[in-house]
C-alpha cells in the first residue's frame, strides 16, 4: 500500500510493520506497555504532512505532532 506522498511510502511501510506487530501482539492482548513505534511514526508523519500541504488536501481538525508543525513550505 502506498502513501499519498510518493516519497513517504518507504517510511510508511516501516511504520506500518512496527505498528501492526505491536497492535496484534501487545495492544489487542491487553498489554499496556508503551508503543515502540514513536520514532518511526514521527519521521513518517513529517513526510505526510508535507505531502498533504503540497497537494492541498483539506484535512479537518488534525493537529500534527512533531517539531516541524510551523514549517512553511
Amino acid at each position: 500500500m502506498n502513501s499519498v506522498g510518493e516519497a513517504c511510502t518507504d517510511l510508511k511501510r516501516e511504520y506500518d510493520q512496527c505498528f501492526n506487530r505491536w497492535f496484534a501482539e501487545k495492544f489487542l492482548k491487553g498489554d499496556r506497555s508503551g508503543d515502540p513505534c514513536t520514532e518511526t511514526f514521527r519521521k513518517y508523519q513529517r513526510c505526510v504532512q508535507k505531502a498533504i500541504k503540497e497537494k492541498d488536501i483539506p484535512i479537518d481538525g488534525v493537529e500534527f505532532m512533531g517539531p516541524n508543525k510551523d514549517n512553511s513550505t
Binding site: 505498528f19 495492544f27 511514526f41 493537529e63
Partner: protein, 207 residues
C-alpha cells in the same frame, strides 16, 4: 469542478442505509486486526493510499487513529455531464477507536471531496457476537447527502444497491485479509522450523 456557491439553493437530500454483517468463524480480535490492515485488497482496487495522520492511546487505554484514504474511481459516463469528469480522486478522512477492554472497534469516515457535491459519511462498529464470542458482528451505517439535487427514487435505490454491494464486498475483503494474515503466520512458522532443522543437520553431519 464546481465552486460551492453554485449548489446550495436547496436543502440536501439524504439517503441512510443500515447493514449488519456477521463473521461466523472469526473472533473480535482477528476481525479487528484484519480491519486495521484492510488495504490493499482486491475487492477495493480504488483505494491506492492509506496514511496515518495521528494516533494515540487515551487514558482509558483506547487507541485513537486518524487516517487518510486516497481513492480513485471511475464514474458512469453520465456523471460527466453533471460534474464534468469521469475519473476522480477522492480522499476519505477516517477516525477510529479500538477499545481492547470493551472489545469494540468503531470507525467513522467522511469523504473530503473537492467538488463537495456528494458527501458519504460512514460508521462501522465491530463487536463480539452477543451470543457467541467466536463470532463478530459488524454494523454499518452510511449516510449519503447530495447537495442541490433532488434524489429521484431511481438514484436512491441505485445508491442503496451500491452500498449493499460494497458491504458484501467489504465482508469478502475482510475474509481475504484474514486469510492473508494467516498465511503470513504459517510461512513465518515454517521458516522458523526449517531454520532450527539446519543447525541440527549440520551437527549430525559433523559427527
Amino acid at each position: 469542478m464546481f465552486a460551492n456557491g453554485c449548489f446550495h439553493l436547496e436543502p440536501p437530500d439524504r439517503s441512510l442505509t443500515n447493514l449488519t454483517v456477521v463473521f461466523n468463524s472469526h473472533p473480535w480480535e482477528t476481525v479487528t486486526n484484519a480491519a486495521m490492515q484492510k488495504y490493499p485488497n482486491p475487492m477495493n482496487p480504488g483505494v491506492f493510499g492509506v496514511d496515518v495522520l495521528d494516533r494515540s492511546v487515551d487514558t482509558q487505554g483506547r487507541l485513537h487513529s486518524t487516517r487518510l484514504l486516497s481513492t480513485e474511481w471511475g464514474l458512469p459516463a453520465m456523471a460527466k455531464s453533471i460534474i464534468g469528469v469521469t475519473r476522480t480522486c477522492t480522499y476519505v478522512q477516517e477516525h477510529s477507536v479500538v477499545d481492547p477492554k470493551e472489545k469494540t472497534f468503531e470507525l467513522k469516515s467522511t469523504n473530503i471531496s473537492f467538488t463537495n457535491l456528494v458527501s458519504v459519511d460512514e460508521k462501522l462498529t465491530y463487536k463480539p457476537h452477543p451470543q457467541d464470542p467466536e463470532k463478530t458482528v459488524l454494523t454499518q451505517e452510511a449516510l449519503i447527502s447530495v447537495k442541490g439535487v433532488s434524489l429521484s427514487s431511481y438514484l436512491e435505490s441505485l445508491m442503496a444497491k451500491t452500498i449493499s454491494v460494497n458491504a458484501s464486498k467489504g465482508r469478502e475483503a475482510m475474509e481475504w485479509v484474514i486469510r492473508r494474515l494467516n498465511t503470513e503466520i504459517e510461512e513465518l512458522a515454517a521458516t522458523a522450523r526449517s531454520s532450527i532443522r539446519v543447525p541440527m543437520a549440520a551437527a549430525v553431519a559433523d559427527k
